[in-house]
């Protein structure tokens, strides 16, 4: 029975926190937030690469550190806590995981070392409009190795070098690798709820596309990739939710009303207790997801769904009640509460909305019962 980080993992996590405390302060995040021309913190992205985090879970044969997924979860937790404004999730949780899951030997050999080396930024493109893309609505199409169609939104799509794109080929949905610097790719940066992360609309008109994984498996593979990403994102959400609780507590302890610190009023105390309870439930579900991801357990779909539902709920609640605890100050641009409020929405949407995952969770429960 060992249901916590190991000492080594705790050491890694602590080192990550130290690095981010130095290189990813609120001031760093705000440089991206306040400047529409800045897509991400380039220095931080480089630093993260130098730390080896981009290849943490990539096997050594492909230039990674070959650590387990739990180590990557520990890093994710710290990145979430720091509200890091970099394309880490797109590149590591989505692109690298997709290639490790479905890539041919050649594709792995070509791309994984570049990802680990920080030479490639990734993106994963499924959505084409409001609502969840599904086999009935999917429009993007590959014909003769050329992709046409529009993907919107694509997180980090404007800065990515390589995208995984969901599209039909011969009437069957598949995944495709597309180099975005090539011909037939038009990209437009979009305004979003979280300006610390970059998002684009990408129009493909005959862009060169190479299939990733088997034909017809586009949706199944996307589910499998999203399961992996969901667990890792759950740790970012958990890190963010914990940070919100800390911020709310620190502010409440130091804010006086009617001659007393507001941290002593039951309305505030119970609000923070509610945040704590949600965060702890999310942590337990996230740990289970980390275990399932790490050992490749059959329980991964159910564990990932539970982790995503719990962490999305916890981060949303923590981020909004953190604003509320700060009162008027929390509503200002100058105070950092809204960074996490924004990020909580970004993370809740990027791998598909929580309600979609609730449905997925119940479908897994039904499947388990039927078995």
């Amino acid at each position: 029975m060992n249901f916590d980080y190991s000492d080594d993992q705790k050491f890694l996590k602590n080192e990550a926190r130290k690095f981010l405390d130095a290189h990813c302060t609120a001031a760093h995040v705000r440089k991206v937030l306040d400047n529409a021309e800045v897509s991400h913190d380039v220095a931080l992205w480089q630093g993260v690469g130098e730390q080896g985090w981009l290849g943490a879970a990539i096997p050594e044969e492909f230039g990674g550190l070959g650590l387990g997924r739990v180590e990557l979860c520990a890093i994710a937790e710290e990145l979430g806590r720091a509200c890091a404004p970099i394309p880490f999730a797109s590149t590591v949780y989505f692109l690298a995981e997709a290639i490790m899951l479905a890539g041919s030997d050649a594709q792995k050999a070509k791309w994984l070392p570049k990802i680990a080396a920080g030479e490639v930024i990734g993106a994963y493109a499924t959505s084409e409009g409001p609502g969840t893309v599904n086999p009935q609505t999917l429009q993007a199409n590959v014909s003769g190795g050329k992709l046409s169609g529009t993907k919107i939104p694509v997180t980090d799509g404007d800065i990515a070098d390589l995208a995984v794109v969901l599209a039909n080929e011969n009437g069957k949905p598949g995944l495709f690798l597309v180099e975005l610097a090539g011909a037939g790719v038009t990209r437009e940066t979009l305004k979003t709820l979280d300006p610390t992360r970059s998002v684009a609309k990408i129009t493909f008109s005959g862009a060169a596309a190479e299939r990733l994984g088997d034909a017809g498996e586009g949706f199944a593979l996307t589910e499998a990739v999203f399961d992996r990403a969901a667990v890792l994102i759950a740790f970012e959400q958990l890190g963010g939710a914990d940070r919100c609780l800390e911020m709310a507590k620190d502010y409440a302890m130091d804010r006086y009303a009617f001659g007393r610190t507001i941290a002593g009023y039951q309305a505030i105390k119970h609000k923070l207790a509610d945040i704590y309870v949600k965060n702890e439930l999310a942590r337990s579900n996230a740990y289970y997801g980390a275990w399932a991801l790490n050992v490749g357990a059959a329980e991964l779909p159910i564990a990932a769904s539970a982790a995503r539902v719990a962490s999305s709920d916890a981060f949303w609640f923590a981020s909004k009640e953190n604003v509320q605890t700060h009162g008027g100050m929390g509503f200002t641009w100058a105070v950092d509460c809204h960074l996490y409020y924004r990020r909580s929405r970004q993370l809740a949407l990027v791998a598909g909305a929580p309600k979609t995952w609730k449905e997925r969770l119940v479908r897994q429960l039904e499947r388990r019962n039927a078995a």
Partner: protein, 404 residues
């Protein structure tokens, strides 16, 4: 129980409607106008209303009103809401500040200020909240020190709506830090354009700037600008605040019809998102809340029409509407799934109304009394439960513990 006007009310409604039809300005797309342009239109419309005595209607005729009943006031507002006229600039001044001036200023001051305010020529703001005194307004620190016939004021106010276009303000300051906090306050009216007053807009998390910080640096005011006695500022402020709930209000953002429309047009694997039972249950809850609030306002109007004063139970409105707005906006954004992140008004459904209200709702839960303060008010003033243990009642202000 019915929704019909009495014959007198119906006659008045007809009169109002006729006047509005004849006089309301032409429709303009207010979203396209700058604030100064909008302000100009608003002042013109206010002047026209004042001439016909459709502003400050319940005030006596001598002060520019028409001695109307509260229900007549409601009828006017209902009818005006059907026209696209510029709104909001005068609510705080005429609803809270000028009544305070009327209650506490000398005749000369009243003579000078009431009529121009009613006509919309001069606008007033309210300067109470401070960075360290939000819910606990009486904990304010802005100091006024007497210097001959003048007072010299230094300090900072915050969350002042409209300070940047206002001409005058009522200002609550500390004149004596050696007595318990409620006893050392005094109220003044001030000229917002005087030297020593600096207005800085507050950049909100929602992006806009509806509020201001106001800094006072050696601002000199005459003792004749005092409203009420020295040390009586809290009593004066209570008169202002009593009018707050009636002055603040208005629409908050998209509601159940809009999200119903969004769901109808969102295609899922199994059809329209409006067919999803989970969405439908939530929609029913939003409907019941929104209509419940609307109907509660009808109950308030009934009380008004019977000559009763609506009590602090009207506090329930904002608790419900602000939290519902946050909840509903978030549900709408999640309904759009990945697409929900997009705030570009040219791309996002309903011109990104849900994304905007998602960023605005946290402010609504705080402005004019946080959820927590409003629940205290309901508990204490409506239900009669005891107030919180107060450790600050008998302590000199200067000896009170403070944080940031």
């Amino acid at each position: 129980m019915d929704f019909n006007d009495s014959p007198e009310e119906a006659a008045f409604r007809t009169e109002v409607r006729d006047w509005l039809t004849a006089n309301a300005p032409e429709k303009v797309d207010t979203k396209k106008l700058s604030e100064p342009e909008l302000l100009k239109l608003a002042k013109a419309w206010q002047a026209k209303k004042a001439e016909a005595r459709f502003t400050c209607m319940t005030w006596p005729e001598a002060l520019g009103g028409r001695g109307a009943t509260p229900i007549q006031n409601v009828i006017y507002n209902q009818e005006e809401s059907k026209f696209d006229v510029p709104r909001g600039f005068f609510d705080i001044g005429l609803g809270m500040c000028v009544p305070t001036v009327m209650a506490f200023a000398n005749d000369e001051t009243k003579q000078r200020f009431v009529a121009p305010a009613v006509r919309g020529e001069e606008i007033w703001c309210q300067l109470f909240s401070e960075p360290s005194a939000g819910s606990d307004v009486a904990g304010l620190r802005t100091r006024a020190v007497q210097d001959g016939d003048d007072w010299v004021i230094n300090g900072q106010k915050v969350w002042t709506s409209g300070a940047h276009y206002c001409d005058f303000g009522i200002l609550l300051v500390r004149t004596n830090p050696d007595v318990p906090k409620h006893k050392g306050l005094t109220m003044f009216w001030i000229d917002m354009k005087a030297p020593g007053v600096e207005v800085r807009p507050i950049h909100q998390m929602s992006g806009g700037s509806n509020f201001n910080e106001v800094y006072f640096t050696d601002l000199r005011v005459k003792d004749s600008q005092r409203l009420g006695a020295v040390g009586d500022g809290w009593k004066v402020a209570l008169v202002t605040l009593m009018n707050e709930r009636l002055a603040v209000g208005g629409s908050t953002g998209p509601n159940y019809p809009e999200i119903m429309e969004l769901a109808r047009s969102t295609v899922t694997e199994t059809g329209s998102a409006l067919a999803n039972d989970a969405f439908r249950e939530k929609l029913a809850d939003w409907y019941v809340q929104a209509e419940g609030l609307k109907l509660t306002r009808f109950r308030t109007m009934t009380a008004l029409s019977r000559g009763q004063t609506p009590g602090p139970e009207s506090s329930i409105g904002k608790i419900i509407s602000a939290n519902q707005l946050q909840d509903l906006s978030n549900a709408a954004v999640e309904l759009e799934d990945q697409f929900g992140i997009i705030t570009d008004t040219a791309i996002a459904p309903l011109e990104a109304a849900f994304q905007q209200s998602l960023m605005w709702a946290p402010g609504l839960r705080i402005a004019g009394g946080t959820d927590e303060i409003l629940k205290n008010i309901i508990a204490e003033r409506v239900l009669g439960l005891p107030g919180d243990v107060r450790v600050d009642k008998d302590v000199a202000f200067k000896d009170m513990p403070t944080g940031r």
